[in-house]
């Protein structure tokens, strides 16, 4: 990366704290690429984190999430705050490439110094919504954005992963996209802190709202009953209510000491995931170094079965691993 050219006396961390958006962008790339340098900078900035309200948006493709985010930016800016957005789009599993198109909807904010928008591909990382997003969110938090919106692809695993990142999860539904399926889809009802029914001017929206309300009535929610908010992103209808509900939820979390609890769970999960990933890498390196492709050939030729191979590799790794040496 070409960061050295702009690297003078001031440190990366300091430049980010000073509001240098180019540095911020470049460090996000480091984190996204899982480069240690990025995490070193994040370590330095860690004391500055914990200030931002992290809001996740998820929902099916075509629900108008990006338009809704665009309107939320407008609302948050009107209320006088800076805001950052991380928009996640799926990476093609075949080519590793991605078209990141969510930004189009928000591009009118490109020149607003109070708005920072970053597009990310899922890059096929384990667990859908990447650890990179979590790290990026923390960086944006440290960089002084009091609101960080994370928009995720509404397919497969990633809807649930948003919980690992966000303080408040907004599930976006929309009429006319096979409502029954999307609303009752396993896991979705459980993760939403707020339900937005977008395109509420379309026929069928009332049905979606009623369905959501009745399913929420069936579930148990502790002291926070998720509200259902009709929105029309194209006309800005309901957006102010949505942002207010998001703020209410944050206040609720704080008042009930739930925020710290939530964040701690998340941090633990992050430590575990990073650790797992590191060990996985270690193991992969180890066996490549020690066995080359021989083990796969053995496996293919049925000279060994996969279960024995796994056991052998584990013991092999464990034997050579310093942390576990006392075992």
């Amino acid at each position: 990366m070409t960061t050295s050219s702009t690297h003078n006396q001031t440190s990366w961390a300091q430049r980010i704290l000073d509001g240098d958006r180019r540095s911020l962008a470049q460090v996000i790339s480091l984190l996204e690429n899982q480069e240690q340098e990025g995490f070193n900078i994040l370590k330095e900035l860690y004391p500055h984190t914990g200030q931002a309200h992290i809001i996740g948006l998820t929902g099916p493709p075509g629900a108008g999430k990006s338009s809704l985010v665009d309107r939320m930016i407008q609302e948050i800016r009107t209320r006088g705050h800076k805001v950052a957005v991380v928009a996640v789009d799926p990476t093609s599993p075949f080519t590793g490439g991605a078209i990141l198109g969510d930004r189009i909807r928000m591009q009118r904010w490109a020149s607003d110094p109070g708005v920072y928008i970053r597009s990310m591909g899922t890059r096929g990382s384990l667990g859908g919504l990447a650890q990179a997003v979590y790290a990026t969110v923390q960086l944006l938090d440290a960089a002084g954005y009091p609101y960080v919106l994370v928009e995720t692809v509404g397919v497969g695993q990633s809807e649930v992963d948003i919980v690992q990142v966000a303080d408040t999860v907004v599930v976006v539904s929309v009429p006319g996209l096979g409502d029954d399926v999307q609303v009752s889809k396993a896991g979705i009802m459980e993760i939403g802190d707020i339900f937005a029914v977008n395109k509420a001017d379309l026929p069928g929206s009332q049905r979606v709202i009623i369905e959501l309300e009745s399913m929420l009535d069936l579930g148990s929610h502790g002291n926070w009953r998720p509200p259902v908010i009709p929105t029309v992103a194209t006309t800005n209808q309901g957006v102010s209510q949505l942002v207010t509900a998001i703020q209410d939820h944050y206040a609720f979390l704080k008042e009930n000491n739930l925020l710290m609890e939530k964040r701690l769970t998340r941090q633990k999960e992050s430590v575990l995931q990073r650790l797992t990933e590191r060990i996985r890498k270690d193991i992969t390196e180890l066996w490549t170094k020690e066995h080359g492709s021989q083990i796969w050939q053995d496996l293919a030729a049925k000279r060994i079965d996969p279960y024995t191979l796994e056991e052998q590799l584990y013991l092999n790794w464990k034997g050579g691993n310093t942390v576990d040496k006392k075992d």
Partner: protein
């Protein structure tokens, strides 16, 4: 992990012909790149701001309206202003041969005219992006 090349594809100006830009965006995706697509009617300032926030390696500009002589150099000028000349800028569209030298002098690395296979543009990027 090998990091994908990040490209921003933008249509500066008011021209609405985005067939080429979209076809190229898809071809780039299929070549393993991450393509940030910013859509129509972008000002040079919006393009440069987006490129910086997205930390892209390349900006691809497409213009078929004849306004390239104004719009393309404006993009490179703003990049200079932001100390971001390391971002590679390439352009495409209906661009007369005689305009190309002045565009290159203004910092556009390469111009691809109609009929250029997408693979040529992709190979060019792969060769010229320094990671």
């Amino acid at each position: 992990m090998e990091r994908p090349i990040r490209v921003l594809i933008a249509k500066p100006g008011l021209d609405g012909h985005d067939r080429g830009a979209k076809v190229l965006a898809r071809a780039m995706r299929d070549a393993g790149m991450e393509v940030v697509y910013t859509g129509l009617r972008q000002t040079p300032q919006q393009i440069v701001e987006a490129a910086i926030q997205e930390d892209v390696d390349v900006i691809g500009l497409s213009c078929l309206s004849g306004a390239h002589n104004h719009l393309f150099p404006e993009v490179t000028r703003l990049l200079k202003e932001q100390n971001a000349t390391d971002i590679l800028v390439i352009g495409g569209g209906i661009i007369p041969e005689e305009d190309i030298p002045s565009l290159k002098a203004a910092g556009i690395s390469e111009i691809f005219t109609p009929g250029t296979p997408t693979s040529v543009a992709i190979d060019y990027i792969k060769e010229h992006v320094t990671k």
